[in-house]
Amino acid sequence: MPITTTRRRLLAGSAAALALPAFARAQGAVKPRLTAISQWSAGSDGAAITALGKRFEEKGGIWQHSPVPGFTTEMMNKLRAQIIAGDPPACSQLKGPEIAAWSKIAPTVDLDAVVAAAGYEKVVAPDLAKLHRPAGKWIALPLQIYSTNMLFLSKRAMDKAKADKIPVTWAEFNDLAEKMKSGGVAYPVANGGTRPDDGQKFEAALAGISPLAYRAAIMNLEKKALEGPEIKAAFVQVRKIADWMDPNVGAQHFSTNLKRFVDGDMGMMIMGGWAQGVLRNAGFKFEDFVIAPGPSDNGKPVFLLNADAFIFWQRKEADLQAGQTLMAQLVMDPAIQTMYSQITGSIPVRTDVDLSGEGWSDGQRRTAAALKDAIASNQAVLSLAHNMAQENGMTAAMIDVITEYVKNKTIKPEQAATRLADAVESAR
């Protein structure tokens, strides 16, 4: 029975491919293949995932990445269509509580063995790890971390304000903004006009005023915290920020104004660490700007966590399964995380990566240090504006209130606080 033998050999080969991809590849039994979708198509994000794909190919794999440009939700639409059609990608971008929500609609891969083999568990922040094993088993792997409340300072705007001290608290931030204004900086706060942009202003304000209130109100949706004084104080701070922003941005992306920021026409930018990658990719130098943790009234850094991750969807094909194992190993590899973060401006998920070497910026070193401090003082919280704290429906309901408040200056802070609490109630 020559046919049976071949089939049996093939099966054995696939099994080996699952257990030991490197060995199986040497045998040539099955070539690992990965179908992946993500929103990363251009700029530093596109460059980083392309580099990851190159490494995948160097290890003998076939890399089939289909980027879906735009916001994360657009990528999700494609993912939803593929899942409903019964043809999910072997691996897709997904993050935060959405991992738990989506894992209920299609079977995912149990990554416990490969995670244990890499010893990954010990080097990931516990809060973050929890999001990636919603039902106890690892089904997704975080790839890189950003803080959404980094403070970018324009060197030229600092010169105009004759200031050189990085503001630590919101009061110092407000002082510096005033100094910039009188020093001739047209708009002390650089901004875009998108929904996450407005959301980031609010989460940075609230978490900076009180990380405890942030955790209770935004992450745990406690009614008492949502009606607390910290929410109102955060809205007061957001109004100050809004008054310093350029109202003309309409619905533009923050990156539209980066040149004006570097030129000192705009002073400070509250943005995720990814702005470093965008700035560098646009040809600006590290000398043009300073990156520091966002304002925190108790002086200790507050870290608003945003982590990109890959979730792995169950596939029957042996080559895709081998590809998933290879991909998982690559994503957890410190060298790969280093390569990835150096392109995008994020920091590695692994807390054991040394950032003192060449290729890292001061901003990234500060971000990594801030994360360590924030974890130690329990001030690392999950970002609302970037869908880490709540599922999309709840997030959108809250951002509605925030974005309207930023754009409509006739809404009073206490009104906004009431509306936020109402929005949460009706979205529950």
């Binding site: 006009g193 109202p247 003309n248 309409g250 619905a251 999309n392 429906g393 509605d400």
Partner: protein
């Protein structure tokens, strides 16, 4: 019968297929709107809960207000602009073909392009306002795009630019089909040009007017890409329109049930426009038969 089979096939197969698609997906959407579906469609029954949630949401209320304002302003203004253009073109002027193409051309541009171009033109920091400032008139203000009370008018402006050429083309065809004897008779009776239009020509145009109104209204109700590219519902949520809310619920918030409910509500609004039109057409036809 057999000889004409290919003809029947070419007409009926596509017609039945598209009708089946339309009806099947409409029914499917209506069904989903009564289920607790979120990320993916699921079975189950929640009654009118999705509808009450949509109707109570601020986004939907703002969208309805905007639809009323945008719909009426856009239809009336594009009608007026189209009619004026058509009458002016009808004066046997030189280069009519060129002008007609120019006025019709915006229709060939996709709404996303229209929205994007106008979003730059209307942006006070980049477009018209900046141009006038640079020319020296620094107190000039034209910042409707970022003014939440006026932003909806920027959509009216862009929509009129896009589609008044369409109204013009229909009106021009109507003007050209007015019976020449009628015009001559009026001339012999000594009617001047203004009187001629008011009393003789325009009254013959009203069936075309109704057609234009209905087509523009259904466009207004389903407007999506234009707003998305121009203001994306902003500033804040000031320029929400029903189609944006549907998209937002279904694909941004992953609330399929509520999104479907909003879509069904949109369908009902469309019926409010289309049913009277169908009734009117029916009456017209009956009259034509009896006459």
């Amino acid at each position: 019968m057999v000889r004409r089979l290919p003809e029947y096939l070419t007409i009926w197969v596509p017609l039945l297929l598209s009708a089946a698609h339309l009806i099947a997906f409409s029914l499917w959407t209506i069904w989903i709107s009564f289920t607790p579906s979120t990320l993916v469609p699921v079975t189950g029954w929640v009654g009118l809960r999705n509808y009450s949630a949509v109707a109570a949401s601020r986004n939907w209320q703002i969208a309805l207000d905007n639809l009323l304002l945008f719909g009426s302003a856009f239809v009336l203004l594009s009608l007026a602009t189209g009619l004026i253009l058509a009458i002016l073109l009808d004066q046997r002027i030189r280069g009519e073909n060129v002008l007609r193409s120019i006025f019709l051309y915006p229709l060939a541009v996709s709404f996303v392009v229209t929205g994007t171009v106008w979003s730059w033109l209307l942006n006070p920091g980049l477009g018209i306002q900046k141009l006038v400032h640079d020319l020296g008139w620094t107190s000039f203000r034209f910042d409707w795009l970022i003014d939440r009370d006026m932003a909806i008018w920027t959509i009216v402006i862009a929509a009129i630019w896009q589609s008044s050429g369409f109204a013009m083309a229909l009106f021009l065809a109507g003007l050209r089909s007015v019976d020449a004897d009628l015009i001559k008779a009026a001339q012999i009776d000594g009617a001047g040009p203004v009187r001629m239009y008011r009393r003789v020509i325009l009254p013959t145009l009203w069936p075309i007017t109704i057609t234009v109104i209905v087509i523009q209204l259904q466009f207004a109700i389903s407007t999506f890409d234009l707003v998305r590219a121009l203001t994306n519902g902003g500033p804040g949520i000031a320029t929400q329109l029903p189609a944006l809310v549907v998209y937002d619920l279904m694909f941004q918030r992953s609330l399929l049930g509520r999104g479907a409910a909003a879509a069904v509500l949109m369908l009902l609004i469309l019926l409010v426009v289309l049913l009277p039109y169908a009734a009117w057409r029916y009456v017209q036809r009956r009259r034509a038969i009896h006459a």
